[in-house]
Amino acid sequence: MKAKATKIKAAILCGMLGTAAVPAVSDGMDYSTVTDLLHLVMSSDRTVYTRMIVNRLAVEEGVIKASEHYMDEKALVLPAQMFRYGAEMVAEETDEFSYSLLSLWPINKQNAPTTDMEREGLEYIAANPGENFYGEEDLGGTTYFTAVYPDVAVAEACWACHNDHKDTPRSDFKAGDVMGGVVIRIPMD
């Protein structure tokens, strides 16, 4: 009963998100539905943190800084770090899914694409605003369902920092630009 209710709710959400169905997992949700839902949570939390914490306190009110070296500077964690620490915490708990925040124009070079599909997905979402990218790839002997979602500049804190940083490869970001992508993977084997 519970499983059925979950599937119905998932179907409703799936419809709300306008997701096209991808090959179904037996008796469960589509991979793309799962990644869409995961991304919905991630992007919502990320936007809330960026707008209501960092942008409000660091940019608009100017009462505290946000810094990559937040411990040393007694500052707010950067939105990208907040996201990455969450992803690393998940990685410590489970192999059932993984996610990361990547970009074709990363300040930290670790966040550049490392697989062909990551690059393809990031290029696709940059060229097709508003669309997601879905695919399958083999990594380390396992097949993964890989979804790439656009990460859009939602607050001044995003583009101001990325445009000014000494290590940035791109300095013309503005509101609404796709600055990178959230990559979510689920092992299919």
Partner: protein, 496 residues
């Protein structure tokens, strides 16, 4: 009797004898025979507690064994890695997007770089890869450091971690923005004082009336009275904190009769650790006290060993019989000078290391604990050069009242650093924590008095370390210059 039967009996008896001999050796004997190769550094202290690291069930798959053994590294080194703000944490490499890197160096596992029992290929820090291991991941594509940093264009990879610039795990004092921020600090601060040390050494001392009151309250039974011990105790922090004789010599006693009955002349170390828990915990993380680490498997437990041999729930009688048979020795005791593999004073031979080795229980002479105690055992070049060194001169000046509290530099200042948190000062008793590599000392210790550039240079000069900093560094590590050349102003690039 047929020849065939005799053969069977002979083979069976031989196998039985061999099994018994090996089991005897493994369970209760000298397990040194089983060591596949020498362990590195201080792991020799625990190398016979095999099951501390080898926790997998018999016949477990290779993947399981690898996972299990890597779990055990973290049980002891977890706090250190957490505090180091690890630059390459395992969790960073678990994401499947790193699969291509797993083929190069699988950083999901400690053992990819740190293999024990491999003395022939082990370099400093228990690293069992060639010293240019950074090349595996930082020499191609987006990660090519020679492209990302113009200053690195002509550098070779064996210098990354050996020249005082980078460490794989701990870069708290070496990261680029930190170098920029502290680039202009003078080699020595105008009034060099270690703040937490100063706080600890300005503790109010009891006056004559207070000491008299303490002495009047001595509650030791008559047969145990000792005027000298009492006089020392009355001037100590224990007296001021209302820890009387019974507190250590009969901690459970509540009445004078119980005190007399329970009294022990030589309280066990557990009495100290009952109150001094942070000190005990950090002591067990360092080289002096690692045999007390709570995660360390006590070796040679008969019931556990029988479980390993397939008897998961052995009857008590069998365990007792086996224990009686093997005369199982006690757990390895505290580390002692006889087992040390670094130079030790001949006079200290046979000394073991407990709280009382450095802290005379009544006197609480912290000056002795901070320097004199160390030098009673350690005679390596750095230790032997301490007396007469500039740091020692400062220590003497402070101890004689001619310099400000916290301005002296004892062994403990650097190796057992104090930290202040919410007004309380704690001394870390993990004397290895600011070493391995020695750049870990820069922030908690050196920078209280010295500029970052000087500290980096000094710690990268082995001869200067060996002579206990009598002189100036013989090299200039260029990392700060390179970092500052990439920015126009000190706060640029700090993502603020």
């Amino acid at each position: 009797m047929s020849t065939r039967l005799l053969w069977i009996i002979w083979i069976a008896a031989s196998l039985l004898l061999a099994s018994a001999a090996l089991a005897r050796l493994y369970i209760g004997g000298d397990r040194t025979a089983f060591l596949p190769g020498d362990t590195h550094g201080v792991h020799h202290q625990i190398e016979l507690a095999c099951e501390s690291c080898h926790i997998s069930d018999s016949f477990a798959s290779q993947a399981t064994v690898r996972k299990d053994i890597n779990k055990t590294c973290v049980t002891c080194h977890k706090e250190e890695l957490k505090a180091s703000d690890d630059s390459h944490p395992i969790k960073k490499f678990k994401n499947p997007r790193m699969a291509a890197y797993w083929e190069l160096i699988d950083a999901r596992f400690c053992t990819s770089c740190h293999m024990e029992h491999q003395p022939e290929i082990t370099i400093a820090g228990l690293v069992t890869l060639p010293g240019d291991f950074c090349v595996a991941c930082h020499s191609e594509g987006e990660q090519d450091v020679r492209v990302n940093r113009a200053s690195h264009a002509d550098l070779t990879f064996e210098t990354c971690a050996s020249a005082g610039c980078h460490n794989f795990h701990d870069n708290r004092a070496l990261y680029e923005d930190f170098l920029v921020k502290h680039a202009d600090a003078p080699w020595l601060a105008p009034s060099p004082v270690h703040a937490a040390q100063a706080m600890a050494r300005t503790r109010p001392r009891p006056d004559g009336a207070e000491i008299a009151a303490y002495l009047a309250a001595v509650d030791a039974p008559e047969r145990a009275r000792d005027p000298l011990a009492e006089a020392h105790w009355a001037a100590s922090a224990h007296a001021a904190a209302e820890v009387g004789c019974g507190g250590c010599h009969a901690p459970k006693a509540e009445t004078p009769a119980q005190l007399a009955a329970d009294w022990t002349d030589h309280p066990a170390e557990a009495v100290c650790t009952e109150c001094h828990r942070p000190q005990a915990a950090t002591f067990a993380e360092g080289r002096h006290g690692m045999r007390r680490h709570p995660e360390l498997a006590p070796p040679r437990q008969a019931d556990r060993m029988l479980g390993r041999l397939g008897l998961s729930d052995p009857p008590e009688a069998l365990v007792a019989a086996v224990e009686a048979w093997i005369a199982d020795p006690d757990l390895p005791g505290a580390m002692g000078t006889a087992e040390a593999r670094i130079p030790m004073a001949a006079e200290a031979h046979g000394q073991s290391l407990t709280c009382a080795t450095c802290h005379a229980p009544h006197e609480q002479d912290l000056a002795f604990a901070a320097a004199g105690a160390c030098l009673t055992c350690h005679t390596d070049d750095h230790s032997a050069a301490y007396e007469g060194s500039p740091h020692h001169a400062l220590w003497q000046a402070e101890m004689s009242g001619n310099a400000a509290p916290g301005s002296g530099v004892s062994c403990a200042t650097c190796h057992l650093p104090k930290t202040e948190r919410r007004g309380a000062v704690t001394t870390s008793h993990n004397q290895s924590d600011t070493l391995r590599p020695n750049e870990k000392m820069i922030r908690p210790v050196c920078m209280d008095c010295h500029g970052l550039a000087f500290a980096i240079d000094a710690l990268a000069d082995p001869a200067l370390v060996a002579n206990n900093f009598r002189g100036t560094p013989d090299r200039r590590i260029e990392s700060i210059d390179w970092a500052t050349s990439r920015v126009d102003r000190p706060d640029e690039g700090a993502n603020q």
